[in-house]
Structure formats: C-alpha cells, structure tokens
Symmetry: C2
Subunit: 198 residues, 2 copies
C-alpha cells in the first residue's frame, strides 16, 4: 500500500526500486487479477487503484500473505491519477468490469469516458495501451465510440473473449462468475494517440 | 454503363477522361445515392457496382434522363473487382445497407468479410477509406471486428448517424425508409492498412 501516491509522481521507479514497465489496474477490487499477474510477471510492476477503501483492504490483506515486491495498491479516485503519474510513466492500463453507470447523466463517471481517456493519455507512454474487459454491452459499444472519437487506435476487438484461444487471460472474480453463467465477455485493446501532451 | 470493366484495369482515368479521384459504391441498387453524389461532386468520379442486372437497369434508366459524365455503372460481382481496378486506383468505397447474410455459413459473402477487405486493399489508395452504413447491428459489430482484425484503422464509429449533425449525408432509398421507421443507422469509416500490396 502506497499512502501518498502524489509524492511519487515521476519517480515510481524509485518506489519499485527498478525501471521495469508499470501497469495499472483501475478499479482493482479485491485484487485477485493483479495478484495473479504480479506473480506471473516478475519482470513487470503493477499498481492497483481502488476508490473504495473497504474493498481495497481485502486486496491488501490477500497480498500480505506473500507480498510480491512488484505490486502496490493505491486508495484513490481515478480522477486523481494525473496527479500521481507523470508523462510516459505507465505502460498499460487494465479496465476490468468497470461500473457501467447506465444512466445518461452518469456517463461522465465511466472510466472510458473521453474525459478519462484524456487523463490516461497524460501519463501513458507513447504506444501505451488500455485493455478493457466487460460483460456490459452498452458500456462496450459506447467505449468503442469514445476511443475512436478520442483518436485512440482500436487494435483488438473480441465479442467473446472466452471463445478465443488466448494463451494468457487472467480472470477477475466477476469474470469467473459471468462465464459460469454463460455470459459473453467483450474485450478490446486500444493504443494511445500519438499526439497527446499539450 | 461500362461493359467490359476488366479491359480498363489501371486506366480508369481514360474512361473518365480526367485524373479525378474515383469512388465506388458496391451494391449500388437503383443508384439514387450515387446519382445524387455525382451531381453534388463534379470534382469526383463515381462507379456503381451491382450484381443484379434487373436492379442495375433501373439505375441506368434513372441516370439516362440527364447522365452525369462522372458516373459509370458496372454489372459485376464484387469478387471480380480486383480484376477491374489496379493498385491505388480507387479513393474510397461506399458500402450502403449491404446484405447482412445472417447465417453463419454465409458470412463469407458479406462485403466486409476479411476476404473482401483484402480484395479492396488491392486497389484502394494508401489512406483510402471504406464508409459503411447499415441498419443491421449484427453486421455492424462483425464488420468492426473484421476491420480491426485485418489491420484497418477505424476512424469513425457512429451508433446513430442521423443523430449527428452531419453536413453531408446522402440518403439511400433504404435509409430514408428505415429512418422514417425510427431505426438507428450505424456508420463507420475505416482506413486501409499501410502494408497491403504483396
């Protein structure tokens, strides 16, 4: 757990004590996904971001059993990420089963809203990516439109992630349940636009 | 009406007697869309391609009243297009309300199937585009996936074309009817991949 993330803006390599690429999961929930990834990929660093303290506590407890050095958690609202990470500091962002905020007034809260995409672009590397998984088709469609509107490049779209022979798909808690229920998981990967830093 | 289109492969500028950009509509039906466009854009050349002679006859009759010099029709199966147009000869392709071929065995017949996208890339200019309109959501979703799989760049996705303030949207016969019925028209624009010519 990193308690004052804004103090480390631009210097996350000293937090991790190495220069390995940093990947974020925004809305990491209880942390199963990141914990598995961090153990699978010691050559990468991972940061889990979660807005709800009660949920994050569970993630931290889980990780404490055998804490991987390449995994940190932040208790933070995603809107504040640009205050925590500097230009080109993050390699990749995972958005897994983000809240769909279905009412039209709430769309600005969705983590793929153009306002958020602009925030992410401020600290994602050139050719940095967002990988998104969701079971919510409305969110998925709107997200595709927003990525394209915001000049991101859609490099992969899968309408049924689990029908693909993906070598490595680490499942989230939600995902395992949804797939057991026979629901399709939609997946996309989008690359940051070239021109972003003002 | 051009009767032996394969004879003109690589030399369409002599058919039109000018070097203006050439745009195709594949599946032009009775030709309303192209006839309107050809009159709006004398600075461009248009070719309407239609597989069904009975339908094409209606297009030709309509155009004969006051034939625009920048509009030609071909009675042709889209599979044969690479035999009619040479590398970089076409600027843009319109696919308007193409047959959705809903059965999975028929998907290869869809005009946005990867097999067709590879054919189009053989004669589309670098940075040439496909603009697609459809009311069929299944076709639209599959097409997005196919464009991305085939390394095309999705530059625009609209889930309700008629809700947008598009300065210039020439309606097809189908479109006018669908919109009157309150149905959404899906629209996309995709740019040819850089690497295509083998």
């Amino acid at each position: 757990m990193v308690h004052h993330p804004k103090d480390h803006k631009g210097s996350w390599s000293s937090v991790f004590q190495n220069d390995r690429p940093i990947r974020l999961e925004i809305g990491c929930g209880k942390g199963k996904f990141l914990l598995e990834l961090a153990n699978l990929h010691p050559e990468l660093n991972f940061v889990g971001v979660e807005k709800f303290e009660s949920v994050l506590v569970r993630a931290v407890e889980k990780a404490e059993v055998d804490p991987p050095a390449n995994l940190k958690f932040l208790w933070l609202d995603a809107e504040e990420l640009p205050e925590c990470f500097g230009a080109d500091e993050v390699d990749l962002i995972y958005l897994n089963f983000s809240d769909p905020w279905p009412k039209s007034k709430q769309k600005k809260r969705r983590l793929t809203h153009p306002l958020f995409l602009a925030r992410y672009a401020s600290f994602l590397k050139s050719s940095g990516r967002i990988r998104m998984k969701t079971d919510n088709f409305g969110l998925f469609m709107d997200s595709m439109v927003w990525f394209v509107e915001s000049d991101w490049h859609l490099e992969t779209i899968l309408l049924d992630l689990h029908a693909e022979q993906h070598v490595e798909n680490v499942e989230t808690e939600f995902e395992t349940r949804f797939v057991a229920m026979g629901r399709s998981i939609y997946y996309l990967s989008a690359v940051r636009p070239e021109e972003t830093h003002a």
